[in-house]
């Protein structure tokens, strides 16, 4: 079962009895989900197109219902705190989301500005922002592109910058929503390497994927089907 975890390990995300349907649709896209994700895990989330993977991720990070409305029931806790009681800024500093299309996530004329955008919104001091930018770029191996225009980078490099721009907000959980789907094999390898580095720093990663070969870095793989989640693979299998 998806929620069969070792109790002594810290819970990063706890989802209990999660039901959701969009306002314009009667059928529930998430139909009673119970899942616990441990700190420091890489979770692969798979399922057919339209099965609700992105919706599930949007629920975890508060985009639903704080930005997009719908009928949501159930509890979602991040490190033991119910996200219903958290503001979007608080959630954003705990959960970072990277989307499929790097072009719509990068809106600054150079990489440095892009990485500074999140911490600036959180009112972080300038010196600290500089320190975070340096660390994030080192982590994804893109130090030499600090002053480049994101438009001039390859798809894989853009996605690495999108990851770094989220890392500067120092989230404990990363949600990667099909981030490797538009990237060539070389780019995919770079991203996977960066994700392993991030995991080694104790961060939790939830990666929505269609391509099974990208799931080899996942500790567990969850299948979302008919609005329910089941665990289909663990690291040892």
């Amino acid at each position: 079962m998806a929620n069969n975890y070792r109790g002594s390990e810290m819970k990063a995300v706890e989802v209990e009895n999660l039901f959701f349907n969009y306002l314009d649709k009667k059928e529930k896209i998430l139909d009673g989900i119970n899942v616990t994700i441990r700190k420091g895990e890489i979770i692969g989330l798979v399922g057919l197109s339209g099965s609700g993977k992105s919706t599930f991720c949007h629920c975890i990070c508060g985009i639903i219902p704080k930005i997009y409305e719908g009928n949501l029931q159930g509890t979602i806790k991040i490190f033991g705190i119910d996200i219903e009681n958290m503001k979007i800024a608080e959630i954003a500093s705990k959960i970072g989301v990277i989307f499929q299309n790097p072009d719509t996530q990068l809106f600054s004329p150079n990489v440095e500005d892009e990485l500074a955008f999140g911490p600036e919104n959180l009112c972080i001091e300038r010196d600290e922002i500089g320190h975070r930018i340096k660390k994030a770029l080192e982590l994804v191996g893109m130090e030499k592109y600090r002053y480049h225009n994101p438009n001039e980078l390859s798809g894989g490099q853009k996605q690495l910058i999108a990851i770094a721009s989220v890392l500067t907000m120092q989230p404990q959980i990363l949600i990667c929503d099909e981030i490797m789907s538009q990237i060539d094999q070389k780019g995919v390898e770079l991203i996977k390497k960066a994700l392993i580095e991030i995991k080694n720093q104790g961060k939790t990663i939830i990666m929505v994927e269609h391509n099974n070969s990208n799931l080899n870095i996942a500790d567990r793989v969850l299948l979302l089907k008919d609005g329910k989640i089941e665990e289909i693979k663990t690291r040892n299998e």
Binding site: C61, I63, I67, K87, I88, A89, A92, S93, I95, G96, V97, F99, N101, D103, T104, Q105, F107, S108, P109, N110, E112, D113, A116, F117, G118, P119, E120, N121, L122, C123, I124, E125, R126, I129, G130, I133, N151, S165, V166, M169
Partner: protein, 243 residues
């Protein structure tokens, strides 16, 4: 170096040139202003050729508008008459030339601002106390312009690949074909806007009333000198023109 002027100084220069373009109603003066704009653009290393190429279509439209305006201006000595009806008058011709010169000054002077990257422009505006949301909105519009233009090209190519040669079909059919472009482009823009807003929200955009800024731009001595000269030129020229 004077070529590395602060974005705000460039904005002031553009404002001065644009004010001249709107204020003066004299072809010789407008020509002089255009000449000054071109000199400043070249001095600040603007890609004037690129700007001219990009605004080629705009100028074609402007010339058509100017000619129409000239035809409908009835004042002044008639130059070209059909059946006693003055088609082109001296006054109309003067207005047409003035209009074209004004547009040219505005386009050339706007190219001066483009020599700063839009982050510097946004930061300049923010340091001038323009609300960040407004300044950011402008920068996002600039950032996404090439993406939407590419999108439009892709949709047009997709239609052409289905055997429709847009350039060769009559105007009526062309309008009908263009109406087919509307839906895919609008839906793509909506999807992109949605993705962009989600990415921004998840980076805590607008979470607090204030935000820090990693980039800080500072005016140098040369900026203050250029701004002072620009403002002084503007005020004195207007004063001299009015007396």
């Amino acid at each position: 170096m004077i070529q590395e002027l602060d974005a705000r100084t460039k904005i002031i220069i553009v404002l001065v040139l644009s004010t001249w373009a709107i204020f003066f109603r004299n072809i010789q003066i407008l020509l002089l202003v255009l000449l000054v704009s071109i000199c400043i653009s070249i001095f600040l290393k603007c890609d004037l050729k690129g700007v001219m190429y990009k605004t080629k279509k705009l100028f074609k439209i402007m010339i058509i508008i100017a000619l129409v305006q000239s035809i409908f201006t009835k004042e002044g000595q008639a130059i070209f008459i059909i059946n006693g009806f003055p088609i082109l008058t001296y006054e109309g011709l003067v207005k047409t030339v003035e209009f074209i010169l004004r547009v040219a000054i505005i386009v050339v002077s706007a190219s001066i601002v483009v020599t700063s990257n839009y982050r510097e422009i946004v930061q300049g505006l923010v340091q001038w106390k323009v609300p960040y949301e407004i300044a950011f909105m402008v920068s996002v519009a600039i950032r996404f312009m090439p993406i939407f233009s590419q999108e439009l090209k892709d949709v047009v190519t997709a239609i052409q690949l289905r055997g429709i040669e847009i350039k060769k079909i009559p105007l009526g059919k062309k309008i009908k074909v263009y109406s087919y472009l509307f839906m895919p482009i609008v839906s793509s823009v909506i999807i992109k806007t949605k993705e962009l807003s989600m990415a921004m929200e998840m980076k805590a955009f607008g979470a607090y009333p204030q935000r820090t800024s990693y980039m800080v731009i500072q005016m140098k001595k040369i900026d203050y000198i250029v701004i002072s000269i620009s403002v002084l030129c503007l005020l004195s020229s207007i004063f001299l023109y009015l007396i």
